[in-house]
Subunit: 361 residues, 2 copies
């Protein structure tokens, strides 16, 4: 029961079998495990198997229905409104992106609005799906309130991520996948595990003073006290905090208000029988606008302009969004996914509780 590296295939298989043991169908368990392992491969540890226990707890507490099938509430040539029926977010969002791709194939663009869903893992996973069809993918989701908007003491909006993936002629596609807050709560958890102080500018307490103790911030979040994470741009208008706040609104309008899901304070409310998370997922058929080869060439040219820029002293490389994660995934596919002892312990314990043994490193 020690820290170690695990093959992504083993972790995929474990996550899948855990879900099957809880009543999730075989294909839905695979959809779920795909998203979790994609996060671990890409180095986004906070959204990988380390988070398995939350989904297990969600199913056990009855907030997540393991047998739910997403249902289509509205279907127009370009638009789907989908209910996740309180099932796994990964299942609803995988269904939603497939719908968007299908509609984009025929109509140029496909938009899926998802309600009655749950946490779906990394937004980038769904934004990248349309890439295999030479399409641009977009994905957003709302989330439980964590982010203190400009001049407020209390968090109303979530870390509401925006992801856009586009094909290139370069080594990797362009994949932006960003919380609209300065950092995610996963980063706070990482700092807590390391018992490290966080930089000023990430989180604030109820009085808007910098909160640098990760344990304090996690406790603030859990108990829904005042204070929380800062929007991109920080706590004031001077450096653009109202812009990060505005982007979080943009995401909640498209994925929460318009989809019919919960929004603002009501997302993932402990008083509610379901989390009612909302997602917005889009696919855009490049070929209806410009030949894909021309688009790829133009993307590569833009990347070349950015990468060949003179660099700041001490900067080793100018990065394109997604580049670090693709490199990490290549490395981890060979060397395995490193898991800290605490995560291994949790996986062993989950495994014991459902009769799917986790073979510790």
């Amino acid at each position: 029961m020690t820290a170690g590296s695990y093959s992504h295939k083993y972790l995929f298989d474990f996550a899948k079998r855990v879900m099957v043991s809880l009543g999730v169908s075989d294909p839905d368990s695979e959809s779920f495990a795909n998203v979790l392992i994609a996060a671990d491969l890409r180095g986004i540890a906070s959204h990988g198997v380390a988070r398995l226990s939350r989904y297990v707890d969600g199913i056990r507490s009855g907030k997540i229905n393991p047998r739910a099938h997403p249902s289509v509430l509205v279907s127009a040539p370009t638009i789907s409104v989908i209910s996740g029926e309180n099932g796994l977010g990964q299942v609803a969002a995988t269904f939603a992106v497939e719908q968007a791709i299908e509609k984009a194939r025929a109509s140029g663009v496909g938009l899926s609005f998802v309600r009655n869903s749950n946490h779906f893992g990394i937004a980038g996973y769904y934004a990248m799906k349309p890439l295999s069809e030479d399409m641009i993918g977009v994905c957003m989701t709302n989330a439980r309130p964590l982010v203190v908007h400009t001049f407020s003491r209390r968090a109303v909006l979530g870390t509401n991520p925006i992801s856009l993936a586009a094909p290139t002629g370069w080594r990797y596609p362009f994949v932006l996948d960003m919380a609209t807050s300065v950092i995610t709560s996963g980063r706070v958890e990482v700092y807590e595990r390391l018992s490290r102080e966080m930089p000023v500018g990430w989180c604030v307490d109820a009085d808007g003073e910098p909160a640098v103790d990760p344990a304090f911030v996690l406790d603030t979040i859990r108990s829904r006290r005042q204070g929380g994470l800062l929007p991109l741009g920080g706590d004031k208008e001077e450096l653009g905090g109202h812009k990060g706040y505005g982007l979080a609104m943009l995401v909640d309008i498209l994925s929460g208000v318009l989809s019919g899901a919960a929004f603002g304070l009501d997302v993932g409310s402990p008083d509610s029988p379901s989390h009612n998370v909302g997602h917005f997922i889009a696919a855009l058929n490049i070929d209806m606008i410009m030949p894909i080869d021309e688009f790829r060439l133009r993307m590569s040219r833009l990347i070349e302009m950015l990468k060949s820029s003179p660099r700041q002293a001490g900067a080793g490389r100018i990065y394109i969004h997604g580049e670090k994660e693709f490199e990490e995934a290549q490395k981890r596919a060979i060397e395995g996914i490193p898991l800290p002892e605490k995560v291994v312990k949790t996986l062993v314990s989950i495994g014991e509780s459902v009769g799917v043994p986790f073979e510790a490193g």
Copy 2:
């Protein structure tokens, strides 16, 4: 020839007549003046009549064709690819948003990709157009390189704004209209006029050191030296500068790369016969997704959650995006638009040169 307040109707009429005198048609001159005066009314002085001389110079230098008609290069049920034919950006973008609305009426969503255009004024103007049809509007544009991306010394991307407007049941619609940089070059110009130092965190010199002298930064921009404005999130990854950089990329991908316009370093290049700016404009038909009254109610509920939040000490009000600008517009519609002496002088001089007298305060 002094500073003073001018009625928006007078300024509209003046701007329109100046354009007509330069060969722009009557309706196109009105489209142009509408956007300029909307900026002045909303308090965005940098994009109002203060910028008239740039458009006049553009036409006189031959970079902007006053007689251009936008042409439709691709028309699908949801998509238009439009060439502005090197005409005024306001004319191309007004045409593009009308196309998007028309397509959204029939297909749920309409997307317009515009190439061969010029600076179009404020993005929010076009995002707000679909509001009158109970639609959500989105508008983005690329712009000449001003923003130094993470770890670079040189600006490759522009201040590339994102605007989204949505109806509400509240006093004002929600209107996000934000540069993806911490500030715009217009803000630098304002600080120069006031001979004031800028805050640290807005601009950097070639070595990435804070540049607080607005005259120095404007000179950097004009001469295309290294250094420039910072992306939202600042100069490092620690507070999310790579996110602002990523958002600027998102905008350039949709409005520049995909539209067939110039992108990155090539936008507004002094070596090129045209600026070839690109825009992305979308309209989304809410009624195909959810009854508009329900959507308005839900928006109002979200706004109520944000506004009723406990406030930081000293904060008078929690704002919703667009609120300040709508209040300013109501005030200025009555009290007039204040113009500093320098701007009045320029307008008088433009007026003399085209035979359309500007009656100073």
